[in-house]
Structure formats: structure tokens, C-alpha cells
Symmetry: D2
Subunit: 412 residues, 4 copies
């Protein structure tokens, strides 16, 4: 595999330097012995921060293999460094074909995992379909994304899920931060790199006002954009409005859109009907997990031709004479054209991952085959570690305040 | 009672004009007959928007009496207009003594209510202590505030609660909007009126980063302040930090504070230890429910004297030679010195109240004596009404998208 | 005159407490003797901060009389306190008729001023038309507003101006702060009081993107509004756009406007053509100097009736069946319904006024009959006083840096 | 020279696509014939947008040569494409030595220019020192930066300047936009790429609150940072404060700084005294023209060692045991690690450049050897073109309003 080994090693060291919560948790897990000898199959975006999670689990005693959860999100330098410098078996390269992608997942599964750490639930899905021979050995899994949880809940409804899954995404220390501030910043890291265009003064349309969408919306405004939000949920739409954003149906929003950034977890957010009325030279980006939010099939149907006009930018000539630009092949723009979430964000998300792996190892006997919310205590522990690594202290309730909060007798 | 009848009538008309969701719900409840002949005892801040809720319930068929839930939050003009012009029995005046306050609650309870609508849980507390003869007739209650819910949950823990209570505060259409945008704006309405001082460039310390606290924090920043947040919850503290605010313990924050605004639902947020090191001429305001967040006892203990220096502003001369200013007697600054939440905000909150009253009337037989979350459907119905009165449409899932969201088979 | 003497005294004391720059300048002028025995005629908004300027000049040795520069901007309590408690002759009451307004200006001019301090240039205009007998004695004047300077420059073009005028408005320490942060905050003080309506989520249209307009625009956004700017200047329009605001012609902007706030210094910003297409129930406010920005003539022409629906709010029933609301009679909303600029802002603006009065007294022999920019040194002195009263220190150039900045030899 | 020709061509095409104002101006200049046969020596950052300016001037009839104004800001792909595909003589490569840098400037000067277009004034400086034989032929120059203008004004004070220079930087359409929004966004493009670290929640210290500094400060806040500004000018410091930023001397600010970004135009903003107390692991970036704002000499003096820890990031081990990171060798971070200003920003800046070149060609006979402000009409023309390419229309004064604005008779 191509890659710059030295650069990969450096990038891992830089990430480690800025992932201090995970460092503290590694010591905790190691001394607990909870993951000693456990085999862990991981499918995540293979870049420096993920590398540190994998190495952390390894250093805490586990046997770890790593594949990518997305064909375009691997940092080859890091993949090389993990394999060659750190001896951590990694099956991932940038630009995998569909076949290579699934081969890599299979190679990682060959470790016969006790625990799966997944992002998007492709790997979990595989052990429920093609690799069912592995099910017996699996004590549980972690899932990183909203998208994956939606799929898992569908499995639960059909009684298809065969082991407990920790909903890492639902941990406050994950989705409050990773989805909101991580996606918010890194989406623009990707867009800056891909386009070198100005955000200030542009009409930026955000598909979805979930945690990711609102993170992107706030950062877009912080960069000077005029922001329009599309939603299917009336409560979230009202929130977006009172947060100062325009709210419109996508079919109306696309008419004035300079940028459309989708972050819904659903498909066909921009599709045939929108392309017919979209603003000329609109830029289309996706920050959702799968590359079906901006429909590439619809783009193909409505175009007379296409060409790469810049790295990460593909121009589609529409039949109506307009042009639109698809960024990063419609895949996660923050990972394809940017460097993914900032290290400090992944420090918190992966702290949840590591703590949940430990939790599964210690508690799997008492868990059912369903999706579990991360225990509140883990969230609080990680939050306290985060503040302490920053040197920030906060208030504590006095005994008197504690008593007051728990009483109903005092009044006006 | 003193008051300007004509001004009260006008203010009610103005509120009604801007409470369009409630208008639609009135028609719905009326035609359902659910509240026909029901006796409702209300204890809320008696100002124009509350008046419209009371009148709405009356117009929908109920028999309604109204008291104030706070001695300093009554708008006398509105109280007069409700009594004299609209014939709605209202027991409330601005500046009630403690005795008058409880007398008024008792007078309202004399209606022998089927339903209680409360704000802070003083009235609910009374029927569990002094007016237990009323318990038999009560089918349930609504509670408006975080503070009240905290008290009610303490009652539930002690098995003291004798009827079901709808946690109105927990409805998304209430706390997302009322606590955040309502408190955010109206706190500054009150502070502007009380002080005529500049917010831009000031160090504003916000006690608490719950929905109220973050609403105030964002508006303070929007007005140009440098904002510091104090918290006891590490997760919320981390959120405040990543939202761009300083996070400190109160004991440190007070040293540089130009304004301290408390919104925690707990007592003694600013107390003895803080007054010893507080910045000279700091302004102290409260946006929490009770007037014990800024400790008036501590102020008395640490002062050599005090005087009213302006309407709503009391100066305390501290023993260390500094001065501090208490705004609005430490009571809800947005209601004491301002006009309370904007009409459109209360339109949503009171839509929840009205819907919950209807819900109690229709479903009380199936409810236990505990605190109930507002059904999701009510939230969504109100949100859709809100958007529709604004002429805003949003997207809908296509059948194909609906299927996709509910399936786990599609992947990368 | 009606008014609450005690409240007026308190309000003046409160303002004095928060105008620390002016306090330091008073000592400076007093010890210089520059204004000893000088007669000063002032026409400003008569409220507490203005009172402190007048008292400051008096305490520095001048003989001062004060009138209002606007029929609706007088605080009667303050006017009473100035006259009765402080013995400073003040001719101003709230709600003056046109005749009373001009009578008051004349009474103040009867002092036979050496110096005029004006706001809007009505008083300066009078001594050039009806009271020309006073011209000989006048050594110069200060003008506070953009509007006034526009009028004075017209006079200069016609060689009509008979004494030097200091363009106080153009001082950085005035227009950077007073127009931007002062108008920004106090406009919403006025609107909150007048309407008790929500800003978040509303379409707020700002007429003009000068210093006042941009101050209002930023605060509107800070309060959660969606903001549209109208302009006649293409450069400013481009700035507004890149600051993240929508930019449209007024005729288009009014169609979706929930609020229109005008701050242009020109007339007929909202006039006949706009009223024909304006959004139903739009609220119209003015933050510009004169009450002709929202055309009251046009409102009269297009209405079938009107009524006061709330203090400071007049409803006009338009011929097309819609309603619009005019706030504060179309006069400066921040002074009519609010309390004017915050004390700390006026501290800086009036520091410029006081310094310019001293400057005129010392330098009038060398000045021509034209409009003068405030000397840069005065600005810097006031800025340094401002920072020092706040306890803020800033950096200084080292000798080496000073040399570097002044050299052209060093390069890449 | 190494470089990817195809990528360079694409990047130029992409820039051209987004520089629509310049396209319109090209037609205007071409048809005027003003630059027909003129020889133009350019020293600018050689990347795609600059390439389009050079090609625009060439297409308008001029003979153009191009060098880089900074050793680390050349995009080799673009340099290659200009030379090989477009036949525009370009002397620039990434990572020039000091000798190569000056050799390239000399090679460009060998064209015997009529007009110089400079950025930082190194080339203008050379023709006044080493290449004085060229002076006779030069009719004038444009200078792009604040830094360059500071140097030129020093030359004027010493009567050293031998031809007129257009102060392009001072054009509103340049510094309002390029310095503020351009530097604001592109600084973070560079920092994202260099560090992959989080901005939200970080203490970001901005050196200088000029147009660049405030652009960076607003974007930093927009990305969630807590921002502190350092200044030497008391007026600007007061503005920063009222814009909601902390204001401190650098010596105090560095103690808590996670990032320091300098944008002053002066040297030694971070130097010996600051390194002694700086926060451990602080990241140091420069957005000012020269690489002496963060003193590399001071870093060398205070360090025991250094190493490259990541592309664009050099770690210095300080003698006190702390580490700091210098980004992009202390050179313009937006150009070294990012892609420079967005295309739409440079469209406006380079429109000023092109218009000024035309202006010099047509008016040089009437110009003196000093620094000229860009005529207001050019600014307005460019602003109108900018709005028109965006399809935005704005208001015009009616004849009646025009008359009103120019009259002083109407009043209250």
C-alpha cells in the first residue's frame, strides 16, 4: 500500500498528544484487566484518532484488528503506520472498491471477535447475514452513529439482533460533542479544502436539524453564511426558526442555494425533483453517514455529462443547462476532503467507545439482545475527566443545597 | 385594587392577537366538550398572556379562578380587566404580602377544583397539606416549571402525591422555547428596564446551563457580553465550554462579574462566601423561580446598610466597603421589571397547558398518582400548529424514505 | 410639570455612578478654567445621562440651560429634578406640542449662549434664521448626530454657517459606540417595552447599514432574528451581505417583514409603495433622528382608521384590509419607549461633548465657520480614560517596534 | 519545477469560474485599450486567483511577468500551468531560498515594467535600491497590503518614493472584504489543515484588531472559541471589548492561550518575554504579511530543541520544560497551510488591482510621487458589479429624498 510511514507515525503521535481523556481511561481499563485477551474487531474511519483508540485498546490488553467503515475515509499514511510501525493489523486503504471494502471487513472478522466496534453497522450486519458462524463468540458490540442505531432498532423490531449493542452515539459525551461540534467544524475543513470558496454571504442550506445539522448550521452562520434549514420534524423546525435560521421545504430551498449540506441519516435528500429547480452552480456536500443523501442516481439521470474540475469536486452538466458540483463523491465531506473530527472531539467519543467495551466485557452476562443506552455514570466520568485535563473546576452542591433540591416543602 | 382598566383590556387584546396557536386549540377543546363545566384553579404569573390562557379555558367551557404564583409578578391592569371586564375571578395584585399571597391561593382553591394549573407547585403543595379536603375532587394537575417538577418528584419519592400531574415543563414545545428563548429575551427586558446599563463588553456570569441558563447565555453574548457559566454538572459544563463560554466555579467567577444572573432552580447560588470576594458594583439578578438563588439572608448578613437607588434596584453596602445591587428584590427579573415572556412563547407554553388540561379530563381514569411526561403527539400537534400559523411548510418523508429509515439491510 | 422628583434624583445619581469618564473630564476642565463663566445652550434628549452632562459642565464653571431636541424624548422626572433639586434651568417636558418645543428652544437661547450643544441641528438652525441677533456672541457649537451633520454640511455648501461646529458624531469614541452599541441595545429596550413580542425567529428588516443600522442588525441577530438589510450604498450592501444578512430593496423586504426598523437619516424609508405590499401585522419602528423615516403621511393616506392598541403602539387599518403597527409615533423608539442609550455609552459620547466644548473655548479664534472633525488626540484620550476606568491595560509599542513600523527597509 | 500541470489548469479554471467581477472588468479594460502593450511586473502570492489576475491583464492587452511575494506561498501546480499552458512567464516555486526569492523578483523586473503590482513592497523597494535603472520607465505601482503601505508611507516621509503608488489596500472593496472576511476564513482553512484540532472552547488570542484581526476574531468566535484581543490602540481596544472580546496585554493573554494568531503588521508580537510565561502546548500562527510577528529568533533563544511533528507544525521544546508549536514556519498560515483567500474575495481585491492599473495608465501624467487613495468611484463601480453578479438589487434615493438629504431647512 502507498503511504508515507513517517507522516503516519507523526500524525498518530499528534493525535495521541491531544487525546488525554483516552490516555487516562487506558490506565483504568488496563488495571481492571477487563479487556485482557479480548479479541476486538473494529470498523471505523481509519485515520489518526481511530488509530489511537485501537492502540489504546491494544495497550489495555486486547487483541485488535481494524478495517475502514467507508471506502473513501482511510488515511493511508496512518493505515501503514498502524500495520508496520505499531503491529496492529489494519485492513484499509483509501479508495477501496466495494469488493475490497467487504473483503477487509471479512479479514477483520476473521479474528473471531468477542467484541465488535462498528460505525454504520455494516460489520454488525455482516455477522447477522454472511458470517453467522461468528455470532456465538460475540458478547456484544458498540455502534458509533445515528445511522447505525436506526438500522439496529429496525433489527430489534424484527427480533433479529443476536447480541447486546451499546448505543455509543446516544451517550451525551458523544452526540452532544462529536455530532455537533465535531461535524460542525470538520464539515467546513472539508469544504474549504475541496472548494477554496467563500462561506460568508452564501446561502447555505442544511438538510436536517439533528445534532449534526445544528452543529453545521451554527458554524455556517459563524462563518458568515445565511442559513436555511430543512426538516421533517415540526418541533425541530420550530427550534431552527427560533435559533434564527430560515426554514423551508427542500424543494423551495434549493432555488437559492449556493451550498447544500445534508446531514439527515436518510436518503434522497436532494433528488430528481430538486435538481430540476436547483440554483445554477450549487455545491452539494454530504455530512451524513452514507453517500445516498445527495442522490447520485438522480444526478446521473439529470445530467448530460460530468467531469472532475478539481480534486474532490465533480461538475455535473444538468439537462436544463445548469451546472452543479458534487463534493467528495457525496461521501462524508469531513473525512473525504478534510481530516475528520478534531482530535479533542474524538478523544471524548472514543473514551465512550473504550468505556463501553470495558462495560460489555464486565456486564455482558446481564445484558439482553437489544440496544443499550450508555450508563449515565460513564458520561459523567468522561465529562469530569475532560474538564480535569483542561484544568477546569466546577461547583458542587452543598449538603444544604442537595437537601433543598430533594425536598418539596419550601416554597414562595 | 389600583390599576388601569382600559390599559389592561388593551394588553389582553394585544396578547390574544399574538397567541394564535391557543386560539386554534380553544376551538378544538370547545368542540370536544372535554372541559365543559370543569372547575379549574390556576396559580400562574397574572399578566396578559396568562389572562388569555384563563379566558381560553373559560371560553372552552370551564369554570376558572386565577391567583398569582409569585407576590411580585402580577400586572394589576390585567388583574383588574379580568375581574371587571371579563368576569373571570382573579385574586392577585402586585406586591402581595406573604399572607395575601396564601389567602389568594386559598380563595382560588375555594372553587373546589377538578384540575389545578400550577407554577412552582405552591398550590399543589397546599392541597397536600392545609387543604386536603379538596383532594378527593381533583382529577389531576399541570405543573409549568422545572422548579415545581423537582418538588413533585420529591413528593413522588415519598409517595406523597395524591393525583396525576402533567409535567408541562418537560414538553418540548414548552422547555425548548419558554425556558430558552422566552427566559433569554425577557431576562434582558427586565434588566434593561431596571438598569439602563450596557450589556456589551460586560462580564456576565450565568448561574446554571440548563435550558433557561443557556437561553440567557446566548442572548447575553448576542448583546455583546463576555459570558461565564457556572455549573454543577460536568456534561453541561463541557457543553457550555464548547459553545464558547468561560466555565468557572462561582467563587472565582464573581471576582470579575459585572452582572450575575442565576437560573438554576437551586438556592444559595450567590451566598456568603461569594459576597466576600465579589466585584465592586456587581449587579445581581435572578431568573429562577424562587427568590432564594441570590441569598437575601446572606446579603443582609454582609451589609452595613441598603437603599433603593432606582426602581427595581436596591444597593447593599457590604462590610468590605464594596457595593452590590440586587435587581427586582431577587425575584424573577423578567416578570418583576420586565413584561414576562413574549406573547408568542407563552402561546406555545399555554397551548401545552390547555392540551394537558384536556388530556387530564379525558384520561384521568387511566392515570396513576405520579408525574407524567406530555405525550409526544401533543408536542407535535402544537409544533405543526405553530408552523402553520406562521405559514411555514416543511418536508415529509416519502414512502420510500420511510421504508429506508425502518430497514437495516441497505449499507455502504 | 408632573414628575416624580425623588425618582428623578435617583435616576441622575445612578447615571452619574456609571459615567466615570465624564467624571474625570470634569476635573480636567474645571482645573483648566476653560468653561468658567461660559454660557452654554443645550438641546439634547432630556433624560438622566444628558442631565449629568449638563451638571458636569455646570460644575466645571459654565452657566447652562437645557431644552429637549425632541418632543417625545423627555424624562419628566429628570427634568423636574434638574430644575428643582439641582437648579439647572431646564425647559422640557414629555409630549411637547410643536409650539412648546420651539418655545423651549427659544427660552434656552435666551441665555445668550457662547456655545451651543445641539442634537439634530434645530437649535443651530434657529440662530441662523429667527434668532440671528445671537450669532455675534456664539463662538461655536457641537453637533451630536449624523442627521445634524448632514444638515450642517448643506449649510456649509451654501456658505450659510456663521460659526465653527465640532462634528461630535464623527469622533470615533462617539459613533463607533453610541451609534452602534448604544442604538443597537436601546432600540430593543424600546421595542421590548412597547410590544412584549418575540424577536427570535422574526423577519427583522433594517433600513440602512450605517453605524446605527449595523448596530441594530447585529443585536437583532443576537436576539435570534432573521435579518434583512436595505441600503442605497453598494459597498455597505456588500458588507451587510458578507456579515451574513440578507440584502434586498425595501419594496421586496416589506413583503415578509415582521418588524421594520429604520435608521437611515433620510425620509420616506417606508412610504406609499411599501404599504401597498407590506406583510399583515408588520411592526414599524424608527431609530433615526426624525420621525419621517416611516412616513406618517403615507400611513394616513393608506389607512381607513387607526387606534392606540397599547401604550406606544398605534394600529393602522390599511385600505387593503391589512393592519400595521406604528411604534412610538414613529419617533426614536429607544427614547420614546425605552430609556435611551445605556449610561456607559453616553459617558463616552458626552465625554466627547465636554471635551469639544473645552476645545471650542480654547481654540475658537483659530477656527473657521465650518464643520470640524474632532481632533484624534481627544478620541485617544477618552479611549484611554475608558479603559482605565475599567481597569484594562493594553500593549505599547517598544522603541524597536516603533522604529520598525516607521521604516521601509526590512522585508521578506 | 515539480507540479501537477493538469491540477494547476483545473485550479485556474475553478478560480476563473468564481471571479466574475474581474471578468467584467477585463472586457472594460480591453475595450478601453488602456493597458495595450503595457509591461507589468507582478509580485503576488502565486496561486490560482493571482493567476487569473495575471491572465486577465494579459488578455486585456498587457505584457505580464509574475513572481511570488513570499517564499512559501506559491502553488507549484498553478505556477507550472501559467508557464506551460498559458505562456505567462512566472518565476515562483514553493519553498524558495532567500536567494531564489530575490532572483525571481529580479527576473520579473527584467521585463522593464511600466507598472508594478506589489504585495508587501519588496519589489517596489528593489527598484528604489538595486534596480534604480528601471525607475525612469515606471509610471506607477499598486500595493496590495497594509504592511506595504506602512513601508511606502515611510518612503514618502523621506521623499524617497519615485513614482505614484495606488493604495489598493485602502480601497473599501479591498480591505473591508479581503482583510476581514478573506483573512478570517482562510486563516482557519490553514489552521484546520495544519492541526486537525478543535477551535470550539479554546482560548484564542488575536494579536491586533485591525481589519484582519477583527475578521479572525469574529470567525474564531463563530467557530466556538473564547477570544482575547491584544491591541496598542485604545480606541480599537474599546471596540474589541464592546464586540464582546476579552482585551488584555499579550504578556497576560499568553498565559491561558491555546492558540495565538498574530495579524498586526508589526514585529515581535510574541517574543522573549511572552515565551517565558506562555501556556504549555500553545499553538502559534501568523496571518500578518511578514514572518516576524511570532519571533523565530526568540523561539530559537528560548528552546533546547525543535522538531517537525506534523506537516506545517514545528514543536519547540522551551527551556522551562514547556512546548509550543509554530505553524507554517510563522509565515502567512492561510497561504502556507491553506489555499489563501476564497476566490470571491480575491475577485474583489483583484478587481481593484486591475482598475488601478488602468487608472495609472490613463492618469499617471497627473499624479505625484506619493501614495494615492483609490478613487471612490472605482470602489462603487466594483461594489455594483459584485452585487449585480449575485443578482442582488438595492434601493436608490428618490429625487425627493436626494433633495431632503441635501437640505438643512426641514427639522422636527
Amino acid at each position: 500500500m502507498n503511504g508515507d510511514l513517517d507522516e503516519g507515525i507523526k500524525r498518530l503521535a499528534w493525535a495521541r498528544e491531544h487525546m488525554e481523556v483516552l490516555a487516562k481511561i487506558r490506565e483504568d481499563i488496563k488495571s481492571s484487566g477487563a479487556l485482557e485477551g479480548k479479541r476486538i474487531a473494529m470498523a471505523l474511519h481509519v485515520e489518526a484518532k481511530t488509530g489511537i483508540l485501537a492502540l489504546t485498546l491494544k495497550e489495555a490488553g486486547a487483541d485488535v484488528r481494524l478495517a475502514s467503515c467507508n471506502p473513501l475515509s482511510t488515511d493511508n499514511d496512518v493505515s501503514l503506520a498502524l500495520n508496520e510501525h505499531f503491529g496492529l493489523e489494519t485492513h484499509a486503504k483509501y479508495g477501496e472498491s466495494r469488493e475490497e471494502y467487504y473483503n477487509n471487513l471479512n479479514s477483520v472478522l476473521d479474528i473471531k471477535p468477542d467484541i465488535i466496534i462498528d460505525d454504520g453497522t455494516d460489520m454488525i450486519s455482516m455477522v447477522h447475514t454472511d458470517r453467522t458462524e461468528l455470532l456465538d463468540n460475540i458478547i456484544g458490540a458498540n455502534e458509533e452513529t445515528t445511522t447505525g442505531i436506526v438500522r439496529l432498532q429496525a433489527m430489534v423490531r424484527e427480533s433479529a439482533l443476536k447480541f447486546p449493542v451499546m448505543d455509543v452515539n446516544n451517550a451525551k459525551m458523544k452526540h452532544f460533542f462529536d455530532n455537533r461540534y465535531g461535524t460542525g467544524q470538520s464539515t467546513f475543513d472539508g469544504i474549504f479544502t475541496a472548494t477554496n470558496l467563500l462561506i460568508a454571504g452564501k446561502n447555505v442550506v442544511i438538510g436536517g436539524y439533528g445534532w449534526c445539522g445544528r452543529g453545521i448550521a451554527f458554524k455556517a452562520r459563524g462563518l458568515g453564511a445565511r442559513v436555511t434549514v430543512t426538516e421533517i420534524d415540526a418541533v425541530k423546525a420550530t427550534e431552527a426558526l427560533l435559533d434564527g435560521f430560515d426554514v423551508k421545504p427542500m424543494l423551495e430551498a434549493v432555488r437559492d442555494a449556493d451550498f447544500i449540506i445534508s446531514a439527515t441519516g436518510c436518503k434522497d435528500i436532494v433528488t430528481d425533483e430538486h435538481l430540476q429547480v436547483i440554483k445554477d452552480r450549487c455545491l452539494l456536500a454530504n455530512s451524513g453517514h452514507f453517500d445516498n443523501e445527495i442522490s447520485k442516481e438522480a444526478l446521473a439521470r439529470h445530467s448530460t455529462g460530468k467531469k472532475v474540475v478539481r480534486r474532490f469536486v465533480e461538475e455535473f452538466q444538468l439537462k436544463n443547462g445548469k451546472k452543479v458540483y458534487l463534493l467528495g463523491d457525496g461521501r462524508l465531506i469531513n473525512l473525504v476532503a478534510g481530516q475528520g473530527h478534531p482530535a479533542e472531539i474524538m478523544d471524548m467519543s472514543f473514551a465512550v467507545q473504550a468505556m463501553c467495551a470495558k462495560y460489555l466485557a464486565l456486564n455482558h452476562d446481564n445484558l439482553e439482545n437489544r440496544v443499550y443506552t450508555v450508563p449515565k455514570e460513564l458520561d459523567e466520568q468522561i465529562a469530569r475527566l475532560r474538564l480535569s485535563t483542561l484544568g477546569i473546576t466546577i461547583d458542587k452542591l452543598s449538603p444544604d443545597q442537595e437537601k433543598y433540591i430533594n425536598s418539596w416543602h419550601e416554597g414562595t
